[in-house]
Symmetry: C2
Subunit: 136 residues, 2 copies
């Protein structure tokens, strides 16, 4: 059961690095080195984070990316949605007679409930809480 894909994972780690020094710009190359993330792949991830205004970028020599959102306001649930999409696109897994007879399918209902619970759990985890736990 893969809850978190690599791009989400890489995003979290990049953000943790950025949170370690909020005032300066880190280049993608630098972050890739620190976190051992493939450079080009990381670049595409950073672009998404930039578009979602969690970080800002500066081009040119001495440029890079820098955290602009507060680490305590960046929830892992947001990153999951950002990189893994908003769960399944409303499609009913259980087709066939059961569903057509009963309109709403019981299994699907249970799955939805558990998905909400998961998102709720990941919503409680922020970049800040991860940093805090790391320092124990």
């Amino acid at each position: 059961m893969k809850l978190i894909t690599k791009n989400t994972d890489y995003a979290i780690r990049a953000l943790m690095t950025l949170a370690s020094d909020r005032d300066r710009f880190f280049s993608a190359k630098e972050i890739a080195g620190i976190q051992d993330i493939p450079y080009h792949y990381l670049r595409s991830i950073l672009q998404i984070l930039t578009k979602n205004a969690l970080i800002k970028s500066r081009e040119g020599v001495g440029g890079g990316v820098k955290l602009i959102a507060s680490p305590s306001r960046i929830h892992v649930s947001d990153l999951i949605i950002m990189f893994q999409g908003d769960a399944d696109p409303g499609e009913c897994l259980v087709k066939g007679r059961i569903c057509s007879n009963h309109q709403t399918c019981v299994l699907r209902h249970e799955i939805k409930r558990i998905e909400r619970m998961i998102q709720n759990q990941f919503g409680k985890i922020t970049i800040q809480t991860l940093l805090n736990k790391e320092k124990n």
Copy 2:
């Protein structure tokens, strides 16, 4: 976030059909028709259920498969493990410095906790509870 894959879903539906009449054999063809599941794919799923002793099979004319486990003892969590494997095979998602510096990685720890919670939730759902909810 795909919690349940199609083979698990198909297995659940097949078992619900079998639970609807525990005394007789259903052929794969029949179940495929009732649940609108691709015949050959369903056959491979039924073979796995047979090997795991949830159902028993009878070859030849008039054969098929029949439920042997009690619907209230078949937990969706078991089926998830059966068809989707035992979560991730112990591999740490967060490699690089964070992990090597701190031995155990904080994100991984949180993910593991949530995974246990999910399995616990799916452990509370059985074929029987699904059937009960369906009949409301």
